[in-house]
């Protein structure tokens, strides 16, 4: 594997130098990146992991752009207090959520926008047992977030706000790659 990778790298370098060589006997399919231009520096425009985080917790306009240009390792310090204010504005009676998280703990988790993903088992936003082990296509992530924002310690508060009652996608997903349903 490593050898293959090396020879590919070498080939690319050779091509970049303009040397034409037909002596490459590597049987690995060559990735066709020769003669394709990839130079330059690319700068962050948008960032996203957990669903709806920017849209729920960050004010409209310039602050949303700023959050999209932030990197996760620096988000917590800047954004946890902002997220907490938003959470308490959305639900002034918030004490703890169904995961037992205080406003500070919940927003501390959310303000660092990464998806936690398990490599050794079920991957789901929440399936009743596993919490934040990935995000599967069919996960009803909005209901999970509504429940944690509005549902209180047992998930029973504000019953009219803890589910949007849209529980599934409008097309079934595929069982094999590329998994997402065909376009309408």
């Amino acid at each position: 594997m490593k050898t293959n990778k090396f020879s590919k790298a070498a080939l690319i370098v050779t091509i970049a130098l303009g040397a034409v060589s037909c002596s490459n006997n590597d049987t690995t399919p060559i990735i066709p990146v020769q003669n394709v231009e990839f130079s330059g520096t690319y700068v962050q425009q948008d960032q996203m992991a957990r669903p709806a985080i920017n849209t729920v917790f960050i004010a409209s306009g310039a602050p949303k752009d700023a959050f999209n240009a932030a990197i996760p390792s620096e988000m917590g310090a800047s954004y946890q207090p902002i997220f907490q204010n938003r959470l308490l504005a959305l639900n002034s009676l918030y004490t703890v959520n169904a995961l037992g998280q205080t406003a500070s703990q919940f927003t501390g988790l959310l303000s660092t926008d990464v998806l936690n993903v398990k490599k050794n088992g079920t991957t789901t936003f929440f399936d009743g047992t596993n919490v934040l082990t990935g995000r599967a296509l069919a996960d009803d992530v909005i209901d999970v977030e509504l429940l944690l924002i509005f549902g209180g310690p047992t998930g029973t508060m504000n019953a009219g706000l803890t589910s949007d009652h849209v529980n599934a996608n409008d097309k079934p997903f595929l069982t094999s790659f590329p998994y997402l349903a065909a376009a309408w």
């Binding site: 990839f38 690319y42 996203m48 790659f177 309408w184």
Partner: protein
Amino acid sequence: MKKTKMVLGLSLVAISGLIFMAADHADAPAVTGNASDITDVYAFQGQDNNNLVFAVNTQGLLTPSATAAAKFNDNVMIEINIDNTGDNVEDLVIQAIKRGNKMYFFGPVAPGNTGVSSTVKTAAAAGSVDITPYGSAPITSTSNGMKFFAGPRDDPFFFDLGQFKAILAGNATSFNNPGTDTFSGTNVLSTVIEVPKSLLGTTTSINVWAETKKKQ
């Protein structure tokens, strides 16, 4: 009583300018409606349990009539960032970028530098795939144990955004049952990559996020 207080809270939020859009669709002025706008990120175990699948969707709320014209942009890299040491700094990246009618993929590989700026890791070319045209069966490719797809798909996100906006505006106090999926019948441009878990480090959990990065 409780509800009144809560609704008041919501109204104040609405007035203060907090508009709840969908997962991340059109979430910010600088990216709304262009190739840099990430709508959703998914990370889940593949049909083969040895693999993880990453899906990054962009340019949401495409109507069927607008979908054929929606294009990936040569100047916008889609980058999946993977932290496998728990510090929320990327240790590996998988990059996808369009050239011609193909999407090219690089990685998983350590980035040249972490943070907001990237260069394409050409020495870690992983494969490429023809971008699937609107209305065609999905074109996929496999190389180095990875699978690749790029093209329009149904938006997998579902949410009664309309009713939530009504609640925020103080025009409703609860969701409807059943609700109405605002994203029903709309499409996104998807980039889907299936990767052997063994290429993502040895830890049992990772942190993942997606970025779009524009050529300067």
